[in-house]
């Protein structure tokens, strides 16, 4: 549908919406109650689900929140590498959206947004429904830059060569490929240039697959092909784990940029290295903000990521549209992580409640990131950082002297990592 047609179709609905909004403004010109205001949240991941819950909670239920999410349940990317390693199941990382609905009164719509009309403040869903909003919170996650790997466009290629970088069906399928692989086979994992979702994730995945191989098929190899010059997160800790625990299994090759994939022959092609064949290919493509953000002109940084005002997460490209999580152009040293998306969700929720009730958003947000990585089924390392708003630079900066990494991998941190998962899942969804 062309934009003009769309605008005409929704005209009637938006006129009604405008009357409602005007009525509210006229009645409460100075201190709006926000009561009856409509927030639409797109995407039920760490960012969107948290924002939906906290807008309801912090408005005492005064603001209507509709969450648009195509999946039936939340499936966590953090901990999903343990499903590949065999120590956790899909059930362990899956949480229904029920509590957002029952406990917090979020209206859940299982659908996908196909268009945003910023002028009319409406989103159109694949199913044809149109949802008006006063504030739109977009948490679209990432989509892949398949155009950088032409061979992956061939029929069946994406079913055979998996990324498994969105937890779900591909997590299950990759585990099956690993189980089916012969002992003595090679699993090759390619990592794109940063920035990408979850900086330490690929290195944790290498540990998990190597852990599984060490138990089930010890003659097998894990080959890490990293486009980056070096390990992008927790480098010394991962390298120590590889040397101490998986010396004969893991091989790390930096500066290996994959330029194409031949899925039929399981072959990777590189910028500056010979072709490489493996038994199981796991290609993590370069990524960018989710499709809807790009399509809506919100990805103002290299047509890849969405620039936002870090006080409110309002997109620089559009009024009343907020963008969260991995899709944002990250502030300096701010990782694209589920933990950080949850923090974005709360900062944005506070700002949206303030804005819809005629108050000024907090001008000095401060929050932290903690990211745990399993180097075996029990032992864990972390990286932590604290981020505060810097008014002069108008962005979030890390607090000097704070944060750091583990001294060494430990089982104690393994227990904390699982407790972290339980808590953040509850904070996001319960």
């Amino acid at each position: 549908m062309k934009r003009r047609q769309f605008v005409r179709t929704v005209g009637a609905v938006s006129a009604l919406g405008a009357v409602g909004t005007l009525g509210l403004v006229a009645g409460c010109a100075t201190t709006g109650t926000g009561s009856g205001s409509r927030v639409v949240v797109v995407g039920g991941g760490y960012g969107g689900a948290t924002a939906a819950k906290y807008v309801r909670m912090w408005s005492d239920g005064g603001i209507q929140v509709t969450l648009v999410e195509p999946n039936a349940s939340f499936i966590s990317c953090p901990i999903s590498n343990l499903v590949l390693g065999g120590s956790k199941t899909m059930a362990d990382i899956t949480t229904p959206y029920d509590n957002l609905v029952r406990r917090h009164g979020v209206k859940l719509v299982r659908d996908t947004v196909v268009a945003i009309d910023a002028d009319k403040r409406l989103v159109r869903l694949a199913g044809g429904t149109e949802l008006p909003y006063d504030r739109l919170i977009l948490s679209p996650g990432v989509d892949f830059m398949w155009e950088t790997l032409p061979g992956m466009a061939r029929p069946g290629a994406q079913d055979k060569v998996l990324h498994s970088w969105k937890a779900g069906a591909q997590t299950v399928a990759l585990r099956q490929q690993l189980e089916a692989m012969r002992d003595g086979g090679v699993y090759a994992l390619s990592i794109p240039l940063a920035p990408y979702r979850c900086p330490p994730g690929p290195y944790e995945r290498a540990c998990q697959v190597a852990h599984y191989f060490s138990k089930a098929k010890p003659k097998s190899k894990v080959l890490i092909l990293d486009a980056n010059d070096d390990v992008t997160s927790k480098g010394p800790l991962f390298k120590k784990a590889w040397a101490d625990r998986y010396k004969d299994i893991i091989e790390y090759r930096p500066k290996h940029t994959v330029t194409d994939v031949d899925a039929a022959t399981n072959t990777l092609k590189f910028e500056f290295a010979n072709d490489l064949k493996a038994d199981v290919l796991n290609v993590i493509p370069a990524m960018r903000a989710g499709d809807i953000a790009l399509k809506s002109g919100l990805a103002t940084a290299n047509k890849r990521w969405c620039e936002v005002d870090f006080l409110t997460f309002e997109a620089k490209a559009a009024k009343n549209i907020h963008v969260l999580g991995d899709a944002t152009q990250s502030a300096p040293a701010m990782p694209k992580s589920g933990h950080m998306a949850n923090q974005h969700g709360k900062t944005c929720a506070a700002a949206v409640v303030s804005l819809l009730t005629g108050k000024t958003p907090n001008d000095s947000p401060i929050y932290a990131n903690t990211c745990y990585s399993f180097v075996s089924d029990t032992d864990v390392v972390h990286v932590a950082s604290v981020h505060r708003y810097d008014a002069a630079q108008k962005t979030m900066v890390t607090v000097a002297g704070a944060g750091g990494v583990s001294a060494a991998a430990s089982q104690l941190e393994g227990q904390y990592a699982l407790a972290w998962a339980r808590n953040i899942w509850a904070d996001t969804l319960a």
Binding site: G27, C28, A29, T30, T31, G32, T33, G34, S35, Y54, M57, W58, S59, D60, G61, G62, H339, N342, Q343, K346, T347, A349, A350, V353, S354, T357, K359, N362, S364, P365, I366, Y367, A368, T370, H382, A384, S385, V386, R388, V399, G401, A402, G403, G404, S406, S410, L412, E413, Q415, Y416, L418, A419, W420, R422, N423, I424, A426, D427, A430
Partner: protein
Amino acid sequence: MKRSRELLMGLALCGLSAWAAAEVSPVRSMAAACANCHGTEGFAQTGMDTLAGQAKDALLKKLLDFKTGAKPATVMHQLSKGYSDAQLEELAGYFAAQKK
């Protein structure tokens, strides 16, 4: 909720909203950043300390001891250094005020 409705009925509709009580203060926002590990409003799931309803002085001492290194930790010694003593006191006060 009942209290909110009574308030709302008793007051001019827009003169003073029932929401005044629900304002997202800066300390509430700051405290929400702890919830990822310690649960929403400090009510933790198993495996992490619940902060809600702890005595303010004890909580503040713990945070300051993490910050100075007097109390060993896996992560909190790194995170507490990101906050001023005054911010830690505000956080301790906020969580102490959450009902058990």
